[in-house]
Symmetry: C2
Subunit: 525 residues, 2 copies
């Protein structure tokens, strides 16, 4: 099926959006075979039956190749989105899919980055998510209601494209269906719904308002198709004037997309595993950054005598700034990366001693759990982001993708090479919301690490802090150095630059980090 | 430490609730040992240091015996809850605890049963959750603001006691601390906060209003202590006029509770593993219910000819009722339990064919995942409850506790015996919110099961539905029969009775279940 094809060969006009006579009965039991008695009208019905059956049979194959599927249903009010989804899930095992009806963001959702609530609904590999309205809902509404500027609109589309392309790159199949209705037909359906006691409440004032603005919405939708119709996540326009025809067309479209993608995956085609070079977006400006060999891990001059007074003064100031941040509802993300035993924990401790425990969270990142492994790797970070006014401190972070996952082969070369840009875009999304993003690399030299490892080994209360894995990682110092240098080179962006914290001297490091946080907060608040 | 002991020996009056001079510096690094130079004032400070250190050292032991800890901080506004928590977490690994600051329920949270948001914050076994305000917040607020009736108040306290006692029975250690301030002292602190530019906004109109109502709140708090001070979750009243003294007292109290509980657990005492008989609350009325041998799985008379028309009519009616349910925002929970191959899936299917896919969810319950195993068993059900106006259909449910978990020994005898009452209370919580709870037991006989197993085995598309485990379970038919009979006997309550669905004839079963749903919805809407 071609994109943007509007199916025009409708035969009968039928009412829609779940009026009572739309309730369908799954007439066939799997053990029966009913005769179809009305041949002319039933062509579409037969197609529906055929496609639901095929979709049912595809489930095991989806699981086998771990193909995740996202289907978006957008379209005019009363175009029958709910009805079609009812058919779509007819033969699917409830374990394999979820249906999400998207309405306006709740007050709670509004306190997080805009795309977070959609990231949170990501299906696991091998499963499906069906959206009745989606991330396109608010962008089209605000477009017509004129709440947003052109810059804001650009931003929204950019966020959507980032979201869809990153998922597609990760192997997600994204199918977007738009159900089209003429203005006349929409009016008829609203009237019909209103005439029925049990469905009357479904037609709201807003629905009639949008109906009156039909032409403006038409324009907004066209713009939306134009800006977001990509090979990786195409739009399919379906004429919804005839209910059965539209249902058959939607199911055919979905079945075909899934089947053809499955065939490719089963043949090992479709998910690139190699990439020749690291590419970063031109729209994200990289800043120059030192490489590890250029850094003196001992740091600069340090006033040992005044350390405590200095630190105390910094924590007081930080406390004031935390109050302002909370009051102004600005979110803040602080990332700690660094060598094993570089002192992330104690550095974070000095920082949090200056914070109100009700307004921050330390998020320690360990090996991913099952639900995390079974989704795009940024999922767990999107879903753990801080609310506006809160600080999230990540003890290790999404940079694991380009360090441990790269070195241990937990992801493919193509994946880690793509990750630099994905991460920059992720951080740009945060910054676009006003999130202050601060990233620390805690640098020590191998000798200092050895001293600390040995001290841990020899101090009974600290022995749990040192494991065989730490020693193994130490042997890979050179490999890590290459990875860290790439990370510093490709992810030191204008919006979220890396700050090197020379950490051979812990006290020097404590002061440098806390002063940097203060500087950034003062600058941005 | 005794319960309800108010520590009166305060020395100095200090300001509180996170004014800037409260920011504390963790003066000691683990490698250092600072001289304490002001002996008189520092007694409490030394105690604080000692207890934070001891708490830090307890973490590994908590993990070892998998003891989960919940600490609640309630108290007057500006009594220093945040400050004390800051000290409490001083030496704790962020992986081992979470801090939750509880404010008014969001609009979204209000669409779920009242205790759901607290269940959702349950720590895993071996970890801790610290609450700044808690489930007591709203009950004390509404008490004074007079929004709730005595009946409503009784209900709230009952929900709280159910929550705490079920967790305590499951091995959770619950410590509730109340920080007391005199009216004068509170006024002083508010004034102090207001005098500082960066903390001024923290004192709201509501704070002053509550201050004016000090005596009423005093009364509400006393009532709260009286009604919720149980051995399983005691209150500790701490005088908060002196900041350091209060902090030391709170930390001492927590440390002692944790240490003494740990000692018991390490000695294998404290979590009962045997219970002699099944007890159910007198306040929950059980209805008479048939035992399995009294049921004819073939059901009653059945009009085969009109099945399709009947089913279609029922689905239409159900659709109308679903609309009303949605509009009236009434939540509904439908539980399907039954023998393997009793036809739960196809029965659910006939029901959902009559529902709007945007307003229901089928929740298949399989073996618990890691986060589920590591918490009280009802956690995963509390957190999956439907929003008001939505229907959740459980394909298997919390009754696994008294069937498979009982039979396979996944829980202790004491646990499954206690579960009948816990489940009744859980369902009463749902009903108290107006949730319609419908429970189906799908009954077939062993011969019918064998026929269906063999048919599955011999039909290629259905082979995935039958596993070795199904055959093993079949061998345990007699054991299951005992369990099911107990379940029917002890959990057929007035609010949530079991409905037997005779399922040897699938079509008969489809109609019986859907008609029962219609009957209940008509009755309750």
């Amino acid at each position: 099926m071609e994109n943007n094809e509007v199916l025009k060969n409708t035969e009968i006009v039928s009412d829609d959006d779940l009026t009572e006579d739309e309730v369908t009965v799954d007439e066939d039991d799997l053990t029966e075979n009913d005769e179809l008695t009305e041949p002319v009208e039933l062509t579409d019905k037969q197609r529906i039956k055929e496609y639901t059956r095929r979709l049912g049979n595809l489930q095991q194959r989806l699981k086998a190749v771990k193909l995740p599927v996202i289907v978006v249903f957008e379209g005019w009010g009363a175009s029958g989105k709910g009805y079609i989804i009812g058919k779509l899930i007819n033969r699917l095992d409830p374990r394999n899919f979820k249906v999400y009806a998207i309405s306006a963001a709740t007050a709670d959702e509004k306190r997080y980055p805009i795309m977070k609530r959609f990231w949170a609904k990501l299906p696991e590999y091998g499963k499906a998510a069906f959206f009745v309205r989606s991330w396109y809902r608010e962008v089209s509404l605000s477009r017509v209601e004129d709440e947003i500027s052109i810059e804001e609109l650009d931003l929204r589309f950019r966020e959507i494209l980032d979201f869809e392309s990153q998922l597609s790159d990760d192997g997600y199949l994204i199918i977007k269906i738009f159900l089209h209705l003429s203005k006349d037909e929409q009016r008829k359906r609203f009237k019909k719904l209103e005439s029925n006691k049990s469905t009357k409440w479904r037609v709201t004032k807003d629905d009639w308002k949008h109906h009156a603005d039909y032409d403006k919405y038409q324009h907004a939708f066209s713009e939306m198709f134009e800006r977001t119709n990509r090979e990786s996540a195409p739009w399919f326009l379906i004429d919804a004037e005839d209910r059965n025809h539209a249902t058959a067309a939607a199911l055919e479209c979905i079945t075909n997309c899934v089947e053809s993608t499955l065939e490719k995956r089963e043949a090992g085609i479709g998910v690139p595993t190699q990439a020749l070079e690291i590419r970063t977006s031109e729209s994200i400006r990289l800043l120059p950054q030192k490489q590890l060999f250029e850094i003196d891990p001992n740091g600069g001059p340090f006033d040992e005598e005044n350390y405590k007074a200095d630190l105390k003064r910094c924590q007081k100031r930080l406390f004031e700034l935390h109050n302002i941040l909370y009051k102004k509802r600005v979110p803040c993300v602080i990332v700690y990366e660094g060598w094993d035993a570089a002192g992330k924990g104690s550095n974070i401790k000095r920082l949090t001693d200056g914070l109100d425990p009700r307004g921050y969270e330390v998020i320690p990142i360990a090996a991913p759990t099952a639900p995390e492994i079974n989704r795009q790797y940024l999922w767990r970070f999107w879903t753990s982001l801080p609310r506006d006014g809160h600080i999230a401190i990540y003890d290790r972070s999404w940079y694991g993708r380009v360090m441990v996952e790269r070195i241990e082969g937990f992801c493919t070369e193509a994946q880690w090479k793509r990750a630099f840009d994905e991460i920059n875009r992720f951080e740009r999304s945060l910054a676009a919301r006003g999130t202050i993003v601060i990233k620390f690399w805690l640098q020590i030299d191998p000798d200092e690490q050895l001293r600390r490892f040995e001290r841990r080994q020899n101090t009974p209360e600290k022995q749990w802090k040192i494991t065989a894995e730490d020693w193994r990682n130490r042997e890979k110092w050179a490999q890590y150095e290459v990875s860290v240098n790439d990370m510093l080179r490709y992810t030191t962006t204008e919006i979220a630059p890396w700050v090197i914290v020379e950490s051979n001297n812990k006290k020097y490091a404590h002061l440098k980090a806390i002063k940097e946080v203060i500087r950034r907060l003062e600058e941005e608040l």
